[in-house]
Symmetry: C2
Subunit: 456 residues, 2 copies
């Protein structure tokens, strides 16, 4: 008899990943039948018209065909060819050979330098060990490696924010662990509170769950919130008190729109606290920021405050599927080593980067203001990341899943229901990206407003 | 307290992956201290001098920088630019956007056509559903998805050949399942026998293990064997009798050196048997064959005789990490849709392909003959794949692990001990690739012969 659904285990069957769930399947169906769909379900900038940065694609093209170092002089800037030549030499075998399980060493060294530069301010002189940096196929694969390490029985729990990015809930379920949700405080811009964290831990203890780690997504997905330094210090103290590792999902670190705000990493906060007892796994990606190179699957995980014998175990896990893809590794290298002032590609790179970031900031503001103008909507400031997660008032007894499906059918707008991310009982939300082109945004918001008025 | 090794679970701690284990770590250490190392531990052709095919890298370079469609007319052949233009259109958003979880649909359709053409001969007209094809980051990730689906408790067992490729043992351990080894018959060129398969099943029953699937690697890794059609039919009947899925690892399908032999897929065999009750997962890769594009991590999994509700579960699993990397997807497309006769790139492509394949065949023969000349060595014919797995006579009480470590220290040759792949108790082997350049091979074999004579 062929494999049956009844042969599959609960871990597989119970795994849910809303960002690509039934609403998206229905959207694709409608699109195939000729409907125009605006996909606001997933942070996939290049599918909504964002152009890749010229410099990074030029360098990558030359690395894929190194003969261009010789033949491409009339086409590419001098520094593009130089960079490609450097990459070819430093990688030793180019893009077609497996790298070390951790990734190419010159890329890991460049990442270490990037983190040092990013985090060394105030009292902090940041230290980074390139041997504790792992190149991954997008941040998702890094997160899965960390969770793999931390979940070894059905008693192992991971604290995740509510709302959260469903990679976490899906992977925890798949690995047979326990989700321990902690609520974010919507009214204060989705900040964390010590009380809510302690509530979550007590809930875990009541369920006989051994909490192993806390996931923090900053800037927040789906919330758009950016944590305060005090909030982050509180999390570190909390993690120490309860012997938790911290998983810091910092893939939106280049997407901070709040005027005057800057991104601060957990690595910086922990260094400033001289904290060496709390293990930290932090993640970055080429898919977000201003690269938006989702399809190329690049990213890294940096691990700190972890003994060498655990590092060896992580390396072993990474080695089973050999290595992260090399084009993604090269793009991660370019993310952390952009063109320098004075180099021919510098000004175009800077212009393209700034254009993308200011466009995203403009859209964040438009969506925030537009959604808040809709009666029955309340949206917190979008200080960072790529999403709005408005609270919506629904007729009694109706769910945000029904709402989102109906919005899709009526207006061709594909968003993800709040239930896919988690939310306080009795509330309803949806997540929309801020990625549709500015000239479409007003129409999208108007369509949502019209839909909302008439749906019941 | 930071995360400790004692916090980790048995699944992680007990996972072993010999191809990148302690011997390789020691080789890298020696290399850093200035020693010359010949890496024969891993099928990584481009690290040993194999050049990537010009055509595929040209197309990929243009896809990474589509401006080259316009600016690259003086550099690239017309059909390269045409192919890139087609890919850009068919993919809709190029290489920077997430694709569908299954992979780009035009690539899955091209794969379906490739399988149809490959498998339609004799009485068989092969049918393939592109919706049952999944693009994966190398074949490894496809294998892991299939095993994820099949292993849901510690009672679930997977039949794997002994010797096997350690991806299987490592992943089964990591997912908390049971390995059920079946021996290959070394003396008959590593063929399978019904008796040995039945022995394995009985062993499983005795251990209260529920056998879920059988893994077959054909052409064989590490053995170099190519299965006969009769052997394959026997496996299908066996799988049917015991209600097993088949995992057909066919990544070396383009590496068959035996004169007059051709690769035959399990999909073809099952179609010729009109077998619709046995679920089949088959795997292919861009890392082997004549592409050798290991670093780009591309491949596919084709699933057949599986109900749609199980297909939906596989798609869900793939969606959690979003999609396989797009450059790897594009290379997989190029693998299954090479230049056609009459196109400008055809002759160079064909020449480069043939040169690589005939070089590999020459090396397979050289190594087979060379190893068999060493007293105390016995090596089966290398009919396919990229490895030799000679049986070696060791002094009493010594292991092949010690032997390989000593060979590395003495001669700078890095091979993997037979124990990493599994072998009959009381026998000793090692795996070496056939990849070192032909002019180095004679020296490598001589060095092994000298070492073997003196080691005790």
């Amino acid at each position: 008899m062929p494999l049956q659904i009844s042969d599959l285990g609960d871990a597989v069957l119970h795994t849910h990943y809303a960002v690509r769930g039934p609403i998206v399947a229905r959207a694709q169906e409608l699109e195939r039948s000729g409907r125009q769909i605006v996909y606001c379900n997933i942070g996939n900038p290049q599918s909504l018209g964002q152009k890749p940065l010229s410099y990074i694609r030029n360098v990558l093209a030359v690395c894929e065909q190194p003969e261009l170092i010789r033949t491409g002089a009339g086409i590419f800037e001098h520094d593009v060819l130089e960079k490609a030549r450097y990459i070819m030499e430093a990688s030793k075998y180019g893009l077609g050979a497996y790298s070390d399980s951790k990734g190419l060493s010159f890329v890991r060294e460049a990442i270490a330098d990037f983190i040092k530069t990013r985090d060394s301010f105030g009292d902090v002189v940041q230290h980074v060990d390139p041997n504790h940096v792992y190149l991954t196929d997008g941040a998702s694969k890094g997160v899965q490696t960390a969770l793999r390490l931390l979940i070894s029985s059905e008693k192992d729990g991971i604290l995740i924010p509510i709302p959260q990015y469903p990679l976490y809930s899906a992977t925890i379920t798949l690995y047979g662990g326990q989700q321990v949700g902690y609520y974010l405080d919507e009214e204060s811009g989705w900040s964390l509170s010590e009380e809510m964290l302690e509530d979550a831990i007590h809930d875990a203890i009541k369920r006989s769950v051994r909490a192993r780690a806390i996931v923090v997504i900053n800037p927040g997905n789906p919330t758009g919130g950016v944590l305060s330094e005090e909030n982050m210090r509180m999390v570190v103290r909390f993690a120490k008190r309860h012997n938790l590792s911290i998983l810091a999902d910092e893939v939106y670190q280049q997407n901070v729109y709040k005027p005057g705000a800057r991104f601060i990493s957990f690595a910086h906060i922990m260094s400033s606290m001289k904290e060496r007892e709390v293990s930290l796994f932090s993640f970055h990606s080429i898919s977000k920021g201003f690269f938006g190179e989702c399809g190329q699957r690049g990213g890294y995980m940096e691990v700190r405050n972890v003994p060498e014998e655990v590092i060896a175990q992580i390396t072993k896990l990474q080695s089973v599927a050999l290595c992260a893809n090399l084009p993604g590794q090269i793009l991660t290298f370019l993310l952390v080593s952009p063109p320098k002032q004075g180099e021919p590609s510098y000004s175009r790179y800077t212009e393209e980067r700034n254009a993308i970031l200011s466009e995203l900031a403009r859209r964040a503001k438009l969506i925030y203001e537009g959604l808040n103008r809709i009666p029955g909507f309340s949206c917190q400031p979008i200080d960072g990341a790529m999403y709005a997660f408005p609270s919506i008032t629904l007729p009694k007894g109706r769910s945000d899943e029904e709402y989102c499906m109906a919005l899709l059918e009526a207006k061709g707008i594909c968003v993800v229901a709040g239930s896919g991310f988690g939310q306080k009982p009795g509330t309803a939300h949806f997540r929309t990206t801020i990625l549709p082109p500015t000239d479409q945004l007003a129409r999208v918001i108007e369509a949502i407003a019209n839909f909302h008025k008439n749906w019941n």
